[in-house]
């Protein structure tokens, strides 16, 4: 029966569109297989994190059960339920943004599918169905992962509802929240497709994807801070009316029969949000459906002004790769997504350090220990340096049109290899050193005055050093080498990344602190001088290695097989 359904045109098309949602168009067969392994690893990670949350919250709720009154438990329950709803919502929004290139039928669908004896309605319907399956997969997985946590927090001495009923209410409210996230992203994309001229849609959707990705990453600390809002929720904070996860917590409370005016207002906002997002999403879909042929037959274009802009440069090979890199970053939504997604994580960590140490309060004139302020501004550049550098390197490693790289293969030579690789060096250096300086110098200046220049010099040198670390062994012209994700296990990479981040962060932060707080001038001068010398030496060695080593155009699995010597 199921096989029959799957073999029908609707079943085949739905499967095709579902698979396309996992296809970024940049992987070889081996790379695609590896990507599937990464997805499985991520799903396992989500489930493991859910179980970890149960362990962490076990202690908290044991203490709340032992409390003399039920008020602290009731307040914590509201905040933690909001978190339990927000996490799946955030995951669904993130994956929907990541696949937003496939949310509506595109030109390829138009040219390949419509000449076949199938209707436009079937193409649009199956695309929607595939999207529903895709969102459903992540909604169910993330809710399954969170369910043990909900069970744990719903049980206890002061619990007002049976835990099983609480879980059912959570699933209804949480699924609605995830659907709201899905509809909101689809609506935003659909509006752009429906309202903008075709020539602008590509750039606009790319920019919006970047912004949404950045906003989501920046929102993560806020989501994780929801448990601290228990008192605000218990007192019916008006500010939390702006937080969509809180709306659906209101729905959950109403489903459990707690008809408080605050919860009714939250639930009303949730209903309005879901209906509005769904209406806009479906409306834009219908609009695109009606004028699909006109929209698709209108060609993409780029600004004539931008095409005319040419810089006269003595080094043609360097200019060629530089312009290719810039054009790709300007037009490829995937590469923008990689840069913005990771860069936002760095920015979120930096902002978090500022907010945690009370910089805003200090700026507003409140009394905050100066040591805390100095801690925050010396730590702030570190996540920016580390993560922005990684973002630039990661985007360079993701290919665009891998089979078109023959033009670079044919023109590779020893003399111009360093010039070909210069664009990668430039991009990584820009992100690891200069952007962190530009972002942190104004704040450091406000706090520390002219000494901020010394701290910025330290940031720059430290960024240059990190760029050298990232470029060690690099042999790729940006975007031209095939890519195989999942060469290392997710857990191993995370562990190594965190260790490196903490070590690099501690050393860097200590050096910046020495520059800002030191009474004598010599550490402020000596440390950058030593690091600069190190950077120069490393850079020279890297460039010599670049001249002598052929470029890489095909990513390879690590060849060093690790053997467990179990017999010894």
């Amino acid at each position: 029966m199921i096989e029959k359904v799957l073999e029908r045109p609707s079943g085949l098309l739905t499967r095709h569109f579902f698979h396309a949602l996992f296809d970024f168009g940049v992987f070889s067969q081996e790379g695609a297989d590896a990507f599937v392994r990464v997805i499985i690893g991520l799903v396992s990670l989500i489930i493991s994190l859910g179980l970890l949350l149960v362990y962490l919250y076990g202690h908290k709720y044991a203490a709340l059960s032992a409390a003399l009154t039920g008020a602290p438990y009731a307040a914590a329950l509201l905040a933690d339920t909001t978190l339990a709803i927000a996490l799946p919502m955030w995951i669904v929004a993130l994956v929907t943004v990541l696949v937003s290139h496939s949310l509506v039928p595109d030109e390829t669908d138009f040219r390949v599918l419509l000449p076949l004896p199938i209707g436009r309605r079937l193409v649009f319907g199956t695309k929607l169905l595939a999207l529903a399956f895709f969102a459903g997969l992540f909604t169910v997985t993330s809710h399954l992962a969170i369910t043990p946590l909900v069970l744990r927090i719903s049980a206890g001495r002061w619990a007002m509802d049976p835990p099983l009923v609480g879980v059912i209410a959570f699933w209804i409210a949480g699924s609605s929240a995830s659907m709201f996230a899905l509809f909101a992203v689809v609506a935003a994309n659909g509006l752009l497709h429906a309202c903008l001229p075709r020539a602008r849609v590509h750039a606009a959707t790319g920019a919006m994807r970047g912004m949404l990705l950045g906003a989501l990453v920046l929102a993560l600390p806020l989501v994780l801070a929801l448990p601290t809002q228990s008192v605000a929720l218990a007192h019916g904070s008006r500010l939390l009316l702006l937080a969509p996860p809180a709306w659906f917590m209101g729905v959950e409370r109403l489903l459990l029969g707690h008809r408080d005016a605050y919860f009714i207002e939250l639930a009303r906002l949730a209903s309005i949000g879901v209906i509005a997002a769904a209406a806009i999403a479906f409306g834009s879909y219908v609009s695109l459906y009606r004028r699909f042929d006109r929209v698709m037959l209108h060609a993409f274009g780029v600004s004539a002004r931008r095409v005319r802009r040419r810089s006269a440069m003595n080094n043609p090979a360097r200019a060629a790769v530089r312009d290719f890199t810039a054009a790709t970053l300007r037009r490829s939504a995937l590469h923008q997504g990689v840069v913005i997604g990771l860069a936002s994580a760095g920015l979120a960590l930096a902002l978090n350090s500022l907010l945690r140490n009370g910089l805003l309060a200090w700026l507003a004139g409140f009394e905050v220990p100066r040591r805390h302020i100095l801690d925050s501004i010396t730590w702030m550049p570190i996540p920016l340096i580390v993560i922005l550098g990684i973002a630039a390197r990661a985007s360079c490693a993701v290919p665009i049109e891998p089979k078109a790289n023959w033009v670079f293969r044919m023109t590779e030579d020893d003399a111009s290899r360093v010039d070909h690789l210069h664009a990668a060096e430039r991009l990584v250096t820009l992100f690891a050193a200069f952007v962190p300086v530009a972002l942190t110098l104004p704040i450091q200046w406000i706090v520390a005055g002219p000494r901020a220049i010394v701290a910025s010099a330290m940031t720059a040198v430290f960024g240059l050093l990190w760029a050298e670390v990232l470029l060690r062994g690099w042999r790729r012209i940006p975007f031209t080498c095939s890519y195989m994700p999942g060469k290392h296990s997710v857990a191993q990479s995370t562990l190594v990344g965190l260790t490196v981040f903490l070590i690099v962060g501690s050393i860097g932060s200590a050096m910046e602190m020495a520059a800002l707080r030191g009474t004598s001038a010599w550490p402020a001068l000596a440390i950058p001088a030593v690091l600069s010398t190190l950077v120069v030496v490393l850079r020279r060695r890297r460039r010599v290695a670049w001249r002598d080593t052929p470029l890489a155009f095909d990513d390879e699995l690590p060849s060093d097989v690790q053997v467990f010597r179990l017999s010894q």
Partner: protein
Amino acid sequence: MLDVRALTKRYGPLLAVDHVSFTVNRGEVVGYLGPNGSGKSTTVNMVVGLLEPSSGSVAIDGCSQGEDPIAYKRRIGYVPEEPYLYTHLTATEYLTLVGRLRGMPQCRLDRDVPELLRLFLLWDSRYSTMAAYSKGMRLRVLLAAALLHNPDLLVLDEPFSGLDVNASLLFRALIGMFAAEGRMILFSTHRFDMVEKVCSRAVILSEGRLAAEQRISDERAGDSDSLERLFVRVTDQQDFGPIARDILDVIQHA
């Protein structure tokens, strides 16, 4: 002269190209024919330097690919079988990229790129990214990129598939004139009619080995079907009449 000597490519136990030798003289257009899987594309990839031969040598006027690959590749223009391009670029951007990678000065690119776009009928689409181009338009971009640096040897891998009639006629005229100026052209294709119209000599490959070599001018003077008959004979092609009959039987009984 392009001199291909005992060119061999092995993929593990599979011998894809087995000691293939041929030459392309200046002013000559050589058709490179063979059935699917005969090793045509592998040979072409080795000639243009995208694939390293297991053994054998390739040289242009004594400049060996093995000894000085950079100087060798500078003398080649290549149009691949599939129009693999960076489709997020415009034609202008792509031609400029290729020209710069080949070390051409910016002033020459500023002069030649717009001119080539006009002549290849791509001028009106110069602000569109190539994602919106038809296959024929993409092939025209590839041919312009292959000619941009004025190469000594032009290697064309199935360049006429997807071209409209006007573009095909332009290609043919261009290939003829390019050869008349003393350049060499290696033209890999399945199409006998094109080989007979464009080439001065044909090299036929079968199962990775050189099966025959034939001057086209002799063919034109004689029986026009003889190249096709020669191909069928040396590549052991079966009689396709009964297969065609069987296909019709299948679809008519469906």
